[in-house]
């Protein structure tokens, strides 16, 4: 039985195969209803409307049907039942489980108790492999994944999307540039893990010093609550505000990605420029999640 828990479980070949499968699905659209008659439980223990809609849409396009729990509060799930028991029971209703949970490691635990495949749709500050795969997919749509300079911008301390993407990119020949304020730098443990995997990582604080050397700029949201006061927040938030002016001397092939929602890192005037790929990136979640669902159920 195949689960999708962490991007760390994937080698380069497996990532490439999944991305190729997603590309094929995208080209052909919902051409065949490969999951007709299959039921998937979308167990969302914390709200994430976008991720849930994206999985629901992907499933529907393959002919499968979702079983969702509208509100975890008020259901037996919140009445002290363990996650282990929940997935054991739900396993007998469905063909796969898509799990979103506030605790790190919840998806791994679920996979140990479920009798059907589990797809991790985000566990706490931990793993969110579908996001990483759609990030990679969007890069690959625009350029090869080898020989590129990728900038990771914003909250690199707590931002799991950046951690996970950097880990996945370590399978490829990339140069990583971290761009973060001192207080939100990438954790030392993660940094040394990347270096151990042979990735060249260059640290920056200012965006202007590196932006013209990038092929990919992956911006993430800086959360206001990470800062002691609003003055220090806005100082940082404004440093990293990407406007058409910021982009005037960049490489022609630069793509600008963001896991969304954004909070002022990218001004709306940038949306019309050819560099802006973040809405396309969100859209790419559909073929990528279709490929993931097929991967575990077929």
């Amino acid at each position: 039985m195949r689960h999708i828990i962490s991007i760390k479980d994937f080698g380069r070949d497996e990532i490439d195969a999944l991305l190729e499968k997603a590309a094929k699905i995208q080209k052909l659209g919902s051409y065949k209803r490969t999951l007709e008659g299959k039921l998937v439980a979308l167990l969302f223990f914390e709200p994430s409307t976008r991720t849930r809609m994206s999985f629901t849409s992907a499933l529907a396009r393959l002919g499968g049907d979702p079983i969702t729990v509208d509100s975890v509060e008020g259901s037996s799930i919140s009445k002290g039942e363990t996650l282990a028991d929940t997935v054991r029971v739900v396993s007998s209703y469905v063909d796969a489980i898509v799990l979103r949970h506030p605790k790190e490691g919840a998806a791994l635990l679920a996979s140990e108790f479920a009798s059907v495949p589990v797809i991790n749709a985000g566990d706490g500050a931990g793993q969110h492999p579908s996001q990483t795969l759609l990030d990679l997919f969007t890069i690959k749509e625009n350029m090869p994944l080898d020989g590129i300079d990728v900038g990771l911008l914003g909250d690199l301390r707590y931002g799991r999307t950046a951690h996970s993407l950097s880990y996945a990119l370590s399978n490829y020949d990339v140069r990583l540039h971290t761009i973060a304020p001192k207080s939100l730098e990438m954790p030392a443990g993660h940094m040394s893990e990347l270096k151990k995997r042979g990735v060249e990582v260059i640290e920056h604080q200012g965006l202007e010093e590196v932006i013209n050397d990038l092929d990919v700029l992956y911006a993430t949201r800086i959360q206001r609550e990470r800062f002691p006061d609003s003055a220090s927040y806005s100082r940082v938030a404004n440093t990293y505000r990407i406007t058409p002016d910021t982009l005037k001397d960049v490489r022609e092939n630069l793509i600008l990605l963001h896991p969304l929602p954004r909070a002022g890192e990218i001004s709306p005037e940038v949306d019309a420029l050819p560099y802006a790929k973040y809405f396309r990136q969100a859209q790419n979640g559909i073929p990528v999640r279709m490929a993931m669902l097929e991967e575990v159920m077929l």
Partner: protein, 156 residues
Amino acid sequence: MSTPDFAKHGLLISPIENGTVIDHIKSGEALNVLRILGITGTTDKSLSIATNVQSSISEKKDIVKISNMELSKDDVNKIALIAPNATINIIRNYCVIEKIGVKIPDLLMGVIICSNPGCISNSNEPIDSKFEVVDGNLHCLYCDNIISSDIANHII
């Protein structure tokens, strides 16, 4: 005639009839060893503890003798984490019947508490914590958290 050992050590620790002797504990860790074995001040076991004893191997060492108790594999694994050079002698009828060198295992199940409060292994789930030992650091297989210092305080 050479001076007998007990004279040099002033009979610091007397021999025991049955039980376990944990020798070559890193000096200062004896009380931690007792703590992770679940032995507290209210124990009814007969204990001898020697700290900062001169040792031929390392500068100084601690020794713990516990009467009428033989250590389990789990206990030995825990001791390995804080006293990697310890040797464990199982004593029956004043004789060493088994001498075990401790070795840190690659995988520790249910031995360590994860320091990440958001880790699923810290909630009310029917699972044991699961840590991989990499370069002397402990890596939580549930949440990816790494514990590299103060390991004694994370032992269950």
